[in-house]
Symmetry: C5
Subunit: 322 residues, 5 copies
C-alpha cells in the first residue's frame, strides 16, 4: 500500500463560489469551525462542488468484525480504510476512536477525519430504546487532528432526550475548539415501528431536529414513500408537498434542513450486490438536492478495485448534479 | 428579502417612566441583565409602553417541519422569522439554538433574541410526565448575542423537580453573565387532566412558581374559567376573587406574579383561522393587565402580509391598553 | 408603605452575655458565619435575648398563591413581607429566591434574610417520598446579601439520603463563604404514618439528625405526646424522660440538639383563628427552652395590624422566658 | 468538666520499633498521611504499642438520641465524648460532622479525630440494600483538624458498588491531603442472611475488600464460627484454616488483611451488661492478633466512671498482648 | 524474601526490531505512553520478543481471600506477588489499588505495574448484568508509578454502555498522562448464555470492541469452537474463516484486533492441576499469533517453585513462537 500517494489534484483547487455560499450559511461559527467545513468541502474529487462523499467505518462496533470484514479481509486493517478514502478521492473518513488512532499519524493531513463519538453494539439486548455508549471525547478529536465530531441521536427513543443533552455538551465544546459537528439522526424506538423509521415525514422530522440542535452536517437514511404520523399526513396534504419519487422526498428533507441552508447527506444502507442499484439511488439523491452520501459497507465490503470504481461512478453523479 | 431594513423608529425612543418603573422591580439584578430587559422593552413598535409581543419559533421541534411550515413554505428558512419579527416591529424573537445560529450574524443587533434552552418532540412516547431535552448552554446564548434564555418547566409532572433544578443552574449562570430569564411555565402531568392544565387556579399557580424561581418574564397560557384543585376553590371563594371573564382571570395571574411586579405574557395557542378571534382574546389579555403576547403559529403560519397585519392589530391593542 | 422605617432600637443593643454564650457553641465556624448568627440574634425586638421569631413565606410554592394570599391580598406583594418582618421587629425573613430578589435592594441591610433553597409544590403527585426541587444556589444567597441558607430534609423518606447529600454540599459551601445553615427537618415518608411524623420521639430524632449534619439552627414542628418507634419507647422509659406536656417534649427536643448547644426553633403550623391558641402554644415552647418560632401563615394571613399585635404577644412571651 | 486536662503521659513517648514497623507497611503514603497514622498510634495509654482503642459516637444518627443517650444523659453533650476519650486515654474519637464541629475548637489537638463521612438512620425503610448518606466532605475533615476520614461500605448489598466508588473518590482526596482512611466494612444485603453477615468467611472477605481498596485501617465485627459461602468452605478445608475459637477467626481476618500488613480493629457490638463479657471478647481479639477495638455503646452508655474503668481493663488486655 | 534480587539480564537488552515494529502501531500515542508500552515489552525474560506474560492478582476481590490464597498461604502477603513476578521474569504485575500500594515503594522500578481500576465481588447478587465498582483513579496510577491502567468491560451486559463511558474517561485521562490502557473484554449478560461468552465469534467481537475503544492491550479468554450469533455464522462461512483448532481461533481474534496491529493476550482461566494442560494451551495461543498470557491462579495458587517452573515453560513456548 503506497501511503505516499499525493492528494488528488481536485483537493488543491481554490475556493469556489458554491463553497463560499455554503460557508456563508454557518454564520455563527468561528473561523476554526468554518476552516474545518472548508476542509471537508475542498478535499477529494468533489472539492469545490459543494458535494461530499464520506467513508464511515463503524460497522465493526455495530455488527462485529466478521460480519464487517470477512468478505474483504484486507479491511481488517485500519490503514486500508484511510487509504481507500484517499485513493477514491473522498471528502472525509469517519470512524471510532480506535480506528482513527491506528492511522492518525501515518495519514495525518491527507484526508479530513470525523471522530464518531458514540456507538451501539449488537451483543446488547435488542432494545430499540437503548442508548449508545459515548466512546470518545472532544479532546480526543483535537489530539487526533480531526475536522469534525460525529454523533448519533435516536429521536423517538426513550433515551432521546439524554442523547440530545450529550450532543449539546459535545457540540458546544466541539464548536468552541473549531471543530464541525456531524449528526447521524435516526428516528427509532418509542412508538415508531420499523417502517416508520424511514417514512418520509419521520426522516424529515429527524433531520429537522438535528438542524435545530445546531448540527453543521446532518446524516439521515433515504426516506421511503410512507407517512407514519397522521398529523404530518394532513400537513403534507395541506402544503401540497410531493413525495412520489425518492427525489421528491430528498427535496423535502433538504427543505426541512433550514430550506437548504444546512448540508444534509444520505447513508447508503446495507451492502447491495448490484453497483447499478447503488448508483440509481444516488442519482435520485442528487436530483433531489442532496449534498452527498456517506457510504460504508457498499464501499469497504467490495474488493478495493470494485469499490473505487463504484465510488467513482457516485462521484460523477454528484459532479453532474445541478 | 431586504436584511438592511432599518430598525423601526419606535425602538429609538428614549426610556419612558413606565419602563423605568418596570426595571425598578428587578432590583436584585446586575446592570447587564437590566440592560437586556431594557432592550426587550425598548425595541419595536411597543418600545417604551411596557408591553411586549414576541415571536417564538420552536414548533419545528415540537411538531416537525411539515406541520409547522408546509402552509407557508417561506417559513422553512430561518431568516424568514428574524425578518418577520423585525418588520412587524416586535420586541424579540425566540428560537432553539440551530435557528438562531442560522441568522445570528446577518441580523446581529437588529432584534433581541431569546435562546430557547429546552424542547420536547412529538416523536417521543406521548407521556405527559416526560422531561424535555436541554439543547443549549448559557455560553451559547452569550456567543450568539442573545438578550435572554428561555426555559420550559412542567409543574406537576414527575420530572418537574429535575426541570426546576436545571432551571436553577441555567438561571443562576444566565444572571451572572447579564442575561434575562424567560420561563414557559406549563402545568401538566401527574394528577392533572387536560382541562386542569389551563384551569384558572393552575395557571396562576404555575405562573407563581416561575416567579418564585426568579424568572424575569413568565409565559403561561390564557386561563380557562375552571378551577382544578378543590383547596384552591375555597381560597378563591374566601378571597372573593372574580374569575368570570378572561380579563378577570388574567388579572388574577398578574397579581399572582408578585402583585404585578413581574412581566407575565400569554401564548397565542393553536393557529386560529379568524384573525378577529385572535384579536378579541388579546383585548381581554390587555384589559386584565397582561404585559403582552408570545405569538408563534398565529404569526408564521399566515402569509407574511396577513401576519404583519394581524401583528399590527395586536400591537395596537396593547398600545391602547391602560 | 414606608420603606424608610428605621430599624427598631432593639437591634442596636450591644452583644449580651447570652448571645456571647450561644456564639461560643459554634466553635468550629469562621468569623463570617459567626457574624451572621450574631446578626440573626441581634436584630429586632428580641435582639440580645438569644430568642428568635422568624417570618417564613414559602407557602406560595407549597400551596399556590390563592391559598396563601387571597385572605389578605396585600400579601401578594413581596415587599409586604419584608416590611411586616421589619415592622414587627422580627429577627429574620425567610423565602425562596424570587421573593427575596424582589425586595433585596429596597430592604438591603434592614432585616437578615434566609434564602430557602428547596421547595415542594402541591401540583405534584401526592407522594410523601418525593424529593423537593433545589431552586437556589449558595452564590444566590451571597449576591442577595443573605445571612443564612435554609434547607428542608425529610428523614425517613426514600429520598432522604439524596437530600442529605444535597444539604452536605450546600452546607459545606455556605459555611465556607460565611453563611449560617438553617435546616427544616421534617420526618415523613417511608414507614411513618401521619401521626408518626409529629410523635415526640420522631421529632427529637429528626432534630438530632439535622444537628449531626452540622446545622446551626434546626426547625421542627411542635411534638405530640405519641411515640412512634417501639425501640424508642423503651429508651424513653429507661431514661425516665417526661413527655406529658408540650413543654416537657420541647425540653427533650432541645436536649436532643447537643444538650442545648444548638438553636432549635418551632413552626407555627396551620393558620389558627384564635390568636390566644397560638400564644398558648408559644408559652409552652418557651417554657420548654425552645429558642423561638418561625411563624408564617399565622402572621401573613392575618390583616397587618392583627399580625403585628399577635407577633408582639409572641415576642413578649419569649422575652419573659427564662 | 475540666477541658484543660493534660494529655496523658503515654502520648508523649517517642516512636517505638513496633510503630516504626507498622508505618513501614504504608509505603505508598505521603508524609502527611503517615504523620496522621503516627498520631493515631502514638496517642493515649496504648501509645507506642501498635494497638488502638477508639471511641465512635454515631449511634445518634443510626438509632436516634433517646436510644443512644437516655441511659446516661450526660452523653447528650458532644463535649462529653471528647472528654471521655481523652480521660480514658484512648487513641482517637470518631463521629459525624456535627458532633466534631461542636468540640473541634475546645479540644483541638488533644485527641486525634476521625470524621465519619456517611451514616444511615433507622427512620428509613428497613432495607438492607439501602445506601447511606454521605454527610461530610474531605474539606470538612481538613478544616476540623481531623486525622482520618471514616467510611462505611456494605459489600454484598445492591448499593455496594456505588458506595465503593464514593469511597474511592473520598479516599483518593483524603490521601492527597495527608489524611488516613478508616473503612467500616460490613457485609450485608443481597443474598446474605443475618447469620451470614458475621460468618467467619464473610467477615474475612469484607475486611479483604476494604484492604484491596486502599484502607489504612479496617473495622469489622468479630466473626462467628459459621461459614456462609460453600465455595469458601472448601477453601478453608483445603487450606486447613482453624476457625474453632474467636481467636482463630481473628487470626484469619488479620491474615486476610495483607497477612497482617494492615491495621484491623473490631467493633464492640451492642451494649453488654457484664463488663467481664466485654473484656473476655477483647482477650480473644488480642490473642488472635487484632490491632484493637472501636468501642461505642459499651463505653458511653455506662456511667462515666464505669466506662473509664472498663476501657482501662480493655487497654490493659491490649498492652499485655504479644 | 530477597527484595534486592537484580532484574534479570533479559530486561536490559536494547530495543529489538520487533518491539520497534509494535511501537509503530501505536502511532497516535504520546512519548509517555509509548515509553510505558516499551517498558512492558522490554522487561523480564521475554524482553524484546514482543511477547508478554503478566501476573494478575485480583482474585481476592472476586472470590475472597480464602478461595484465592488458602492453598498457598504465602500469597496472603502482597509482597509475595511482586517478588514472584520479578523472579519469574514476567513483563508486568497487575492488581487493585490496595495490593499495589502495599509494595509500590519496596519494588519501585523493579517490575512494570498495571493498576486494575475496577472489580466485582462474589458477595453481590449473582447478576451477570451487574456493573463493577471503579476502585481507583488515574491519579492513583500516576502516584504509584504504574505503567498502565487495567479496566474490565462486559460487552453485552445491560451495564456495558455505562462501563464503556467510564473506560472512555479513564482511558482519555490515562493517555494524556502517558499511561498505557489494558482492557479486559469479557462478553457476558444480556442475551448471551454461558457457552456464548467464550464462543469464537463473541470473543473476537469483544476483542474488536476493546480495540475500537482505543485499548493498547486487549485481554480476552481463549475462544471455544462454538459460534453464538447466527449472523456471525454466515459471515464466517462467507469469509471461509477456519475455527477448527484453538490456534485457528486465536488467529481470528488477533486479526479482529486491527489485523494484528494491537497486542492481544489471553487469560489462563481456572487453576488447572496439570501443568502440561496449561502449557499445551499456551502452545496453541502462541501458534495462533497470540501476544502472550495473563496468568493468575495457575501461578500464585501453586507453590512458588512449581509456579516459577511452570511460568518458565510458558515463557519458553512464547520465546520459540514465530
Amino acid at each position: 500500500m503506497n501511503v505516499a500517494t499525493p492528494i488528488t489534484a481536485a483537493s488543491r483547487v481554490s475556493i469556489t463560489p458554491r463553497v463560499r455560499e455554503i460557508l456563508s450559511w454557518y454564520e455563527s461559527d468561528n473561523p476554526g469551525t468554518k476552516g474545518n467545513i472548508y476542509r471537508l468541502l475542498m478535499t477529494g474529487k468533489l472539492a469545490g462542488t459543494g458535494k461530499l462523499v464520506i467513508l464511515p467505518v463503524d460497522q465493526g462496533f455495530e455488527h462485529g468484525p466478521a460480519r464487517s470484514f470477512s468478505v474483504n479481509p484486507a479491511a481488517y486493517d485500519p490503514h486500508y480504510h484511510y487509504q481507500l478514502a484517499i485513493d477514491a478521492g473522498l471528502n472525509a473518513y469517519a470512524a471510532p476512536i480506535g480506528m482513527l488512532e491506528a492511522g492518525a499519524d501515518t495519514f495525518a493531513g491527507q484526508i479530513p477525519t470525523i471522530l464518531k463519538m458514540n456507538s451501539a453494539n449488537s451483543l446488547s439486548r435488542l432494545n430499540e430504546d437503548a442508548d449508545q455508549a459515548v466512546t470518545a471525547s472532544v479532546s480526543d478529536a483535537v489530539r487526533l487532528g480531526c475536522s469534525a465530531i460525529g454523533f448519533t441521536i435516536y429521536p423517538g427513543s426513550d433515551q432521546a432526550y439524554d442523547q440530545m443533552e450529550e450532543l449539546r455538551e459535545l457540540a458546544n465544546e466541539a464548536k468552541s475548539v473549531g471543530l464541525a459537528v456531524v449528526v447521524w439522526s435516526y428516528a427509532r424506538g418509542g412508538e415508531l415501528d420499523k417502517a416508520g423509521e424511514t417514512s418520509a415525514d419521520v426522516i424529515a422530522y429527524a433531520a429537522h431536529i438535528a438542524t435545530l440542535m445546531g448540527a453543521h452536517i446532518i446524516k439521515v437514511k433515504p426516506p421511503s414513500d410512507k407517512i407514519a404520523l397522521s398529523a404530518a399526513k394532513k400537513a403534507y396534504d395541506k402544503g401540497k408537498i410531493e413525495l412520489g419519487t425518492l427525489s421528491d422526498r430528498i427535496s423535502d428533507v433538504v427543505k426541512s434542513c433550514f430550506n437548504g441552508r444546512r448540508i444534509v447527506i444520505f447513508s447508503g444502507g446495507e451492502a447491495k450486490d448490484s453497483a447499478d442499484a447503488v448508483v440509481d439511488e444516488i442519482k435520485q439523491i442528487a436530483a433531489g438536492g442532496g449534498f452527498g452520501s456517506i457510504m460504508g459497507r457498499n464501499a469497504f465490503q467490495r474488493p478495493r478495485d470494485e469499490a473505487i470504481k463504484l465510488l467513482d461512478r457516485i462521484i460523477e453523479v454528484y459532479k453532474a448534479a445541478p
